[in-house]
């Protein structure tokens, strides 16, 4: 590895370590009670001690987020395909896609939870609504951003609509799709957590949001922090996976992914 690369990796890690050490030192020095701000060491210990219940909750939240992400990808891509095939459909439906995007999920989540009795599908629907928009708008833009010269070339060689879609529009859309995916993974997780908050402690569900609510009520602040840490780490890992997938798909040809030499 080159020096610059090492720096690129090490710098954020060093910053993180410094923050943790300072945090711990401040908590120790001022003897802050753990029900206000627990030190990182206590949070870590709580993570290990409560791992059974926390990991179970993580599994649930992760399941909601991943199902919502999968639904967003499928729905987003299908809707984008439909939009580029028919300008009329796009013009009549796109405003409603925007409507979906601007409606706060906390406002409609209670309705969805009432309508859909089963908590898992209800939460997945909420998280999907949050995560869907970037997939639709990015993929649509990508499918349309076709080089007009290549479009002419396809026409001259008698390409069918299907050939133009699969061999020209889809590859063109890939960088846009992956840019959308990076945004949507984070949104799916946020959607999963927010929806569960709205569902409240009444449901049988037991995701990380439920743990946070419970821990808050019981003033078990170290566990609250531990749950928070898990959500954050999960979000980062999901983002890294999405970035990796994008890089794998684009590394040979797209400027965003090709190594600068």
């Amino acid at each position: 590895m080159k020096r610059a690369q090492v720096f690129e990796w090490m710098a954020p890690i060093v910053v993180g370590c410094i923050v943790l050490v300072v945090w711990q030192a401040l908590v120790d020095f001022f003897e802050v009670p753990s029900y206000l701000v627990p030190g990182p060491w206590l949070v870590a210990k709580t993570l290990v001690a409560d791992r059974a219940v926390l990991l179970h909750s993580l599994g649930f939240t992760l399941a909601v987020a991943i199902l919502a992400l999968a639904a967003s990808i499928v729905i987003g891509v299908v809707v984008a395909f439909v939009f580029v095939q028919s300008r009329a459909l796009e013009m009549s439906l796109f405003p409603y896609v925007v409507l979906l995007q601007v409606t706060p999920i906390v406002a409609i989540a209670p309705l969805i939870i009432i309508w859909v009795n089963d908590p898992l599908p209800a939460l997945v629907i909420c998280a999907t609504i949050v995560a869907l928009f970037p997939m639709i708008s990015n993929t649509t833009l990508g499918l349309k951003s076709v080089d007009t010269g290549l479009l002419d070339l396809f026409r001259l060689n008698g390409a069918t609509r299907w050939q133009t879609l699969t061999r020209l529009r889809v590859p063109t859309a890939l960088p846009y799709f992956f840019a959308g995916l990076k945004i949507s993974t984070g949104l799916a997780l946020i959607g999963a957590v927010v929806a569960e908050f709205v569902a409240g402690t009444g449901g049988t569900a037991s995701g990380l949001a439920y743990q946070i609510l419970q821990a808050g009520l019981q003033l078990n602040i170290p566990r609250l922090f531990a749950a928070l840490v898990l959500i954050t780490v999960t979000g980062v890992v999901l983002f890294l996976i999405a970035s990796l997938l994008g890089w794998l798909a684009l590394r040979r040809w797209h400027d965003s992914a090709v190594a600068r030499s």
Partner: protein
Amino acid sequence: MTERIAAVSEALVALREASVTYPTGVAALDRTTLSVAPGEFISLIGPSGCGKSTLLRLAAGLLEPTTGSTVRADDTRLAFVFQSPTLMPWANVRRNVRLPLELGGVANADAKVTEALRTVGLAEFDRAYPRELSGGMQMRVSIARALVTEPRLLLMDEPFGALDEITRERLDDELLALWAQRHLTVLFVTHNIYEAVYLSTRVLVMSPRPGRITAELAIDEPYPRTDALRVTERFVKRCQHLSDLMAGNERGR
């Protein structure tokens, strides 16, 4: 008149009084008549924005004339070479060149691709991606992709306009060799007078927009043409003549 119609009917492609007005209201081409006979190498020169690309797109059938008509012989297989290489960045050289064959469902594509790549001297670059090639090499790929379908008519829209002088002259020579070997017919757009005279059997001069063909000059120099031609007095005179014709168009607007 009858003679003219006869000439048109044996042409590979012909425009009759064709005008193009774009939906934006821009009149790009004005009642242009042109017929391209087999074996010709025709260059179109004219100032930028005068409708050269429009004329070529008409000839290719990518555009319908607003008034007038376009005629193409039924068996005219044509290929288009664009101003920029217009390659698929996600596909390597081989897959780019193979594209027209795949779209047309042609059998035995691989052998044809190999042959086309060898023709343009890129045989060993078939796994490279467009971004890994120089501008001149990308243009060669673009030409290989045009040749792979074995066209009779090659429509080229300022193909070498973005290249440096030396690369351009080399590609000009290679193009002439291909034209002779394969009995191609070429309709070539350029804004370079020297290039037009060097390559062509006939040069057509277009007026500023809305473009029409205002003059025609036959270049009766024998082929193969070499660099020695560029310094002959006749060559220089012809270029001067064309330059005057274009300047006349500018003044007359």
